[in-house]
């Protein structure tokens, strides 16, 4: 923005900050993904270089029954989940928006919990609940086999839909917010009844929101690794993400197949996201966005809808979580659920200092704090640069961020296996594969684009004139950033830190594919427990990790609250030395600040 004769600030910024960041993104995201693509096209890449071009690996995955079925299943699961989440999510959004049920805050809380809980925690909960001698069989005293339907495609799609419906819900809720009541009232005056109004007027107007949410659900379901890793070993249904994992765990590793499967997965997701973008970009959507007058509430909440909503929320979240918690308290999973069979022994074991679980927890905590710190700090800086500085380098940065945001974790992790294990890295001692640092880099690669995007959204909310006002009144770019931008986006930056932290604590694909054998992070240990039929130990460690994450959140909130109080009492003291506080002021500045936050 500022030009001067020799090295302008903008040029220095580019040289010192933007280009290094581009290099980091290239190394962390583009290089691994590129090596996947090349590996699938040049099967002997690491031995013979670019000599041998072949599409063999692509034709193979469609010839081999297992991989072919995995791709078909992924599409089936994605499609099925998209349909069911559309129904559940739309209905819930309408009920909540029109206030047909009691307790909308509770609903909001539960929906966000479902949205942010890592899918493999929920998936494991379902498995513990539904398997032979599982919690539900024991609790309801059912004969084994009664719940086997859960481990069929139908059951899986149901469970996945209960995990993913918040995506549609949030999309439709936003659409309803812009719908207003004019269209509906026009239909009523024309003689349409309640049902006709919904079917002919409101639902068609909401279609873009529903479809946009459904395509996102589809992409999420296809790229999900948590459900696959928890349920596939029990249900024996091939799934695309899991087939990438198995191909990497074969001896010898079938690298070209991993590459081809990853490219197919990315392709499916790219197409669905492109469709979503196209749906949202169509003109019809803007019609309902221009409505300002909100809907008038006609009928109050009812018991029937309240029950329906709560049954849905219980099934979506509380049921699988109960599965985990009850299992963690059982002396041995598979035994009857009686008081005598309950114990805290597994927690004690997990918390034993120096024990395997405790060490894994410590390791994951360190990795997560490191990931969250760097990813959040780098993210806010890059988001600021992308939104404020124009030029080729920032455009490149933006494109890199946005195009890597939807890459499934399993593909990125597989890319790290290729990219940081290559023979040509040996002379430079850059074979990072098999080190904890490699796991850390993969966590960072997965979280950085999200961090940038979240904080870009927050920066986009700040009116540009607030920043111009800073400059005009004598602040340079650095002061504007520190004094105006940072305080205004602090809430988002802190949430970003926390989200990145909790995501890294539960990060599954990169942990599974990249962990050093003697230093497993927490998710790997949990999965090991489950696979070794030590369900109760796995469940206890899961609950502990959730508690650690929740405790960190609580502590962080407390710290922030304290800091805010101190800052304000200092500020008020400083000012009131000079003047009497306005006697007509109805709200104290402290309350005002709390409202603003």
């Amino acid at each position: 923005m500022f030009k001067s004769k020799k090295w302008s600030k903008a040029q220095l910024q580019r040289l010192l900050f933007i280009w290094p960041s581009i290099l980091v993104l290239l190394g962390l995201v583009v290089y691994p993904l590129g090596s996947i693509l090349l590996q699938s096209l040049f099967p002997k890449l690491f031995e013979a270089g670019f000599g041998q071009f072949s599409l063999q690996s692509y034709s193979n995955i469609f010839k081999v029954n297992y991989t072919y079925k995995a791709i078909l299943d992924a599409l089936l699961f994605g499609g099925g989940s998209a349909v069911i989440t559309s129904i559940i999510g739309t209905l819930l959004a309408i009920v909540v928006h029109r206030k047909w049920s009691y307790g909308s805050r509770w609903v909001t809380l539960m929906v966000w919990l479902v949205f942010f809980t890592p899918s493999y925690l929920i998936a494991e909960g379902w498995v513990l609940l539904m398997q032979h001698n599982g919690i539900l069989t024991k609790f309801l005293m059912l004969p084994n086999g009664t719940l086997d339907w859960f481990f069929t495609p139908g059951g899986l799609i149901m469970a996945m839909s209960l995990r993913l419906f918040p995506v549609v819900y949030l999309s439709v809720l936003a659409g309803l917010g812009g719908l207003g009541s004019d269209f509906e009232e026009a239909a009523r005056t024309a003689g349409a009844g309640s049902l006709v109004t919904w079917v002919r007027i409101n639902i068609p107007l909401l279609a873009p929101s529903i479809l946009a949410g459904a395509t996102l659900t589809f992409a999420e379901a296809v790229s999900d690794f948590g459900f696959a890793s928890a349920i596939v070993p029990k249900a024996h249904i091939p799934l695309l993400t899991y087939s990438i994992f198995t191909a990497l765990n074969q001896m010898p590793v079938n690298y070209p197949q991993v590459g081809a499967l990853s490219v197919v997965l990315i392709g499916i997701i790219a197409v669905s996201l492109w469709i979503q973008k196209w749906i949202l970009g169509r003109g019809s959507y803007s019609i309902i966005q221009n409505q300002i007058r909100p809907h008038r509430v006609r009928s109050g909440p009812g018991i029937g809808w309240t029950l329906t909503v709560n049954i849905l929320l219980i099934a979506a979240y509380l049921l699988p979580m109960i599965g985990v918690v009850v299992t963690s308290l059982l002396k041995q999973s598979g035994t009857d659920i009686t008081w005598a069979n309950l114990t805290f022994a597994h927690y004690a074991k997990a918390l034993k200092i120096g024990g395997q679980s405790f060490q894994a927890l410590q390791r994951s905590f360190g990795l997560a704090v490191g990931t969250a710190s760097v990813s959040t700090a780098l993210g806010i800086g890059l988001a600021f640069v992308i939104t404020r500085v124009r030029g080729f380098s920032t455009n490149l940065l933006y494109v890199l961020t946005m195009s890597t945001i939807a890459i499934p974790g399993i593909v990125l992790a597989a890319g790290f296996v290729f990219a940081w294990n290559a023979p040509y890295l040996v002379p430079w001692h850059l074979n990072l594969y098999g080190t904890l640092f490699c796991v850390y880099l993969a966590y960072l690669a997965g979280s950085l684009p999200h961090s940038i995007r979240l904080q870009m959204a927050a920066l986009g909310q700040i009116s540009p004139s607030l920043l111009s006002a800073g400059q005009v009144h004598g602040a340079n770019l650095f002061v504007v950033f520190r004094k105006i931008i940072l305080p205004l986006v602090a809430a988002t930056t802190i949430s970003t830190f926390y989200l990145t932290f909790s995501h890294a604590m539960f990060e599954m694909p990169a942990s599974e594919l990249l962990y050093p054998p003697d230093q497993p992070p927490m998710p790997v240990v949990i999965v090991k427990f489950y696979n070794n039929l030590q369900n109760e130990n796995g469940a206890a460690l899961t609950v502990l990790t959730i508690l650690v994450v929740a405790a960190c959140y609580g502590f962080g909130q407390l710290l922030l609250y304290g800091l805010r109080q101190i800052r304000h009492s200092l500020a008020i003291k400083g000012i009131s030395k000079l003047v009497q506080v306005d006697p007509n002021s109805t709200t104290s500045p402290l309350i005002g600040q709390a409202q603003m936050d």
Binding site: S463, S468, H473, G474, A475, V479
Partner: protein
């Protein structure tokens, strides 16, 4: 010399927004940049602030070059104050912190800063709101704080971008006269962007009427109102009757200057026939304005109706005589700009 803008050019993508604009004002002048949306007035303000770089020409503040092609003195070093259309008060800072922001960055701290903040807020009667946050203030109060923030560091130039446009009509009138008084007292150089000709006429010392990136006319409020150089300026400054003489030139008269007489009444024609041009027409439309009526009179010689004000109620269809005072009918250049007020223009 307070501010000099020497043939400044600015292009966005392929659109020429400023094409060689020239304006200079002395210290202590209240300058209004007036024009319809899209004429480049806000862009010009942004270039003065240094928020937008220029492609050609020069901008000087106090004889110091602050902008020219390839060189921009950073905004924060220009020592200016600015009031934004949306106020742009920082929502996380109190009124005190907002106003003290610029002072602290200029090294004014401690007791002196407090005193300056107090004094400045006092000018706008806002000293008792010092601990409030922007969201606890009304629109007018925010406006006053924004003004105080801009002038607290005593900058050499104050820039204002339609500062009154987000206030409601009553408050706008009140603020208009108050602001004009305050800035006159402070003796500050002000550049004030507006699309409201009443605001410009009532507040400014000098008005620059802008059109498509150029200054169409520069002068005192009286000059631009009574002696517009073109039909564009004439129509922008208020209702005007424009009579075309040829393709390029014509003459204009304000409706208030035209005298109307009933043809069948006993009113005698004007004292001296040579002081007036006369025409006879038929009342076509009447609209009540409260203190008078506005009429559109069809005159056979002219193609479109002529706008004129008259205190008494006439019936449509009545024959009237119009008297155009020769001294008030001024020659002007015709631009034939689309989008102005066509109902008051007349072609011969």
């Amino acid at each position: 010399m307070g501010l000099q803008i020497n043939s400044v050019y600015k292009k966005y993508d392929n659109k020429q927004v400023l094409s060689g604009i020239n304006v200079s004002v002395e210290d202590g002048t209240f300058l209004a940049l007036l024009g319809p949306s899209g004429c480049g007035k806000t862009t010009l303000l942004q270039t003065i602030a240094g928020l937008t770089p220029i492609d050609g020409g020069q901008i000087l503040i106090d004889n110091q070059v602050v902008s020219q092609a390839g060189y921009e003195l950073p905004t924060e070093k220009r020592n200016i104050g600015m009031v934004f259309q949306d106020f742009a008060l920082w929502p996380h800072m109190t009124v005190y912190e907002n106003v003290a922001f610029g002072l602290k960055l200029r090294g004014v701290k401690g007791a002196e800063a407090r005193q300056r903040v107090q004094e400045t807020l006092g000018i706008f009667h806002m000293e008792s709101y010092i601990t409030r946050f922007p969201h606890e203030l009304s629109g007018g109060q925010k406006q006053r704080v924004a003004m105080a923030r801009a002038i607290a560091p005593k900058p050499r130039l104050i820039l204002m971008d339609e500062p009154l446009s987000s206030l409601d009509a009553g408050l706008r009138d009140e603020m208009r006269s108050e602001l004009a008084r305050i800035f006159k007292q402070l003796g500050m150089t002000v550049v004030y962007v507006t699309h409201d000709q009443l605001e410009a006429l009532s507040m400014a010392d000098q008005i620059a009427v802008m059109r498509t990136g150029q200054c169409e006319q520069y002068g005192t409020p009286e000059q631009v109102y009574h002696e517009p150089v073109s039909d564009y300026v004439a129509k922008f400054m208020g209702p005007a009757t424009i009579v075309r003489v040829n393709a390029e030139y014509g003459w204009f008269v304000r409706p208030d200057d035209i005298q109307l007489q009933r043809v069948d009444s006993a009113d005698s024609p004007a004292s001296s026939e040579s002081d007036y041009q006369t025409a006879v027409g038929i009342v076509a439309l009447r609209s009540y304005q409260g203190n008078r009526y506005r009429y559109f009179v069809n005159v056979p010689e002219y193609q479109t109706p002529i706008e004129v004000n008259y205190p008494a109620k006439l019936q449509p269809g009545e024959r009237v005589r119009l008297l155009f005072p020769t001294v008030k009918c001024r020659p002007i250049r015709l631009i034939n700009e689309a989008g102005s007020t066509p109902d008051s223009s007349v072609s011969v």
